[in-house]
Amino acid sequence: MSADGGLARRSHEENWLPILELAIQEVFEIMLGCQVKPVAPSEHAANAEFTAMVGLAGALCGILTVCCDANTARQIATRMLGDAASSEEQAADALGEICNMITGNFKNKLAGTDEQCMLSVPSVISGGKYSFRSLADGVSIETALLFEGAPIFVRLQLHS
């Protein structure tokens, strides 16, 4: 990586983190009627029992993942459905849709990118016994937000 490349990458990370956090906050506020507060990811232990992911292709190329524990995924589904306790299938579906909306909302906030970037349909992994390795080798932005006291980890990894 060149010095210029390093600077450009750091600039993206600094500029895009607030945009990503705003995109997340809007999704939770509008679709779940609740506010989520950004926290330092390093201060919370990751318990990724559910991992949702949406791929990006085009001007932005990479993957956005949303991880949380099973109880949090079920709470999200219950909030979205607004009624009875949710099943594991609904929890996975809800987290996938949250991931989809965060990715789309983030993309739409980047001027000039939204026209040239496509999203995949979401995929969701249930269970935490896996290792995740993305081939994206460029910008990596990670944040965590507290939802009803539990952390939700959001990571955007892009090809350089």
């Binding site: 809007e26 999704v27 509008i30 679709m31 589904a77 979205m80 459905l81 607004g82 609904q90 579906d93 809800a94 996938g96 849709e97 989809n100 909306m101 990715t103 789309g104 909302n105 993309k107 739409n108 939204d114 026209e115 999203l119 995949s120 349909v121 979401p122």
Partner: protein, 120 residues
């Protein structure tokens, strides 16, 4: 129509919150399922996602014009794809409205009621 069953329920709830009486709701997880469902169901309104497996929403809008029972039925896209080119493609293909996710029940009301001849 949406590949997420949770999102289909949210959209249905938004329609009820808008004061629309839903006599019957026909759900589909993609464009192909929706085209098949329209062969045996007559509907007044179609709400349609874009990014779906099997057949996406834009292709559905293009093909639905060939379904006799669905001709003239207003279609509103509800999607995370917010770019101008997607809006233009959808409206050019025949969609009558476009709502970006995340959305509020009020946005659904504003877009849908006029298409059903009601005041928002």
């Amino acid at each position: 129509m949406d590949d997420s069953s949770v999102m289909r329920k949210i959209v249905e709830r938004s329609l009820r919150q808008a004061g629309i009486e839903l006599e019957k709701v026909v759900e589909a997880a993609n464009g192909a399922e929706a085209l098949a469902a329209l062969q045996s169901n007559v509907v007044d309104l179609i709400l349609c996602d874009i990014n779906m497996p099997v057949m996406d929403g834009l292709e559905f809008v293009r093909q639905v014009a060939t379904v006799e029972t669905a001709k003239g039925v207003p279609i509103v896209m509800i999607t995370t794809e917010g770019s101008e080119s997607h809006v233009v493609q959808a409206l050019s293909a025949g969609a009558r409205g476009y709502i970006r996710k995340p959305f509020t029940p009020d946005q659904v009301k504003e877009h849908v009621l006029p298409l059903l001849g009601k005041k928002p």
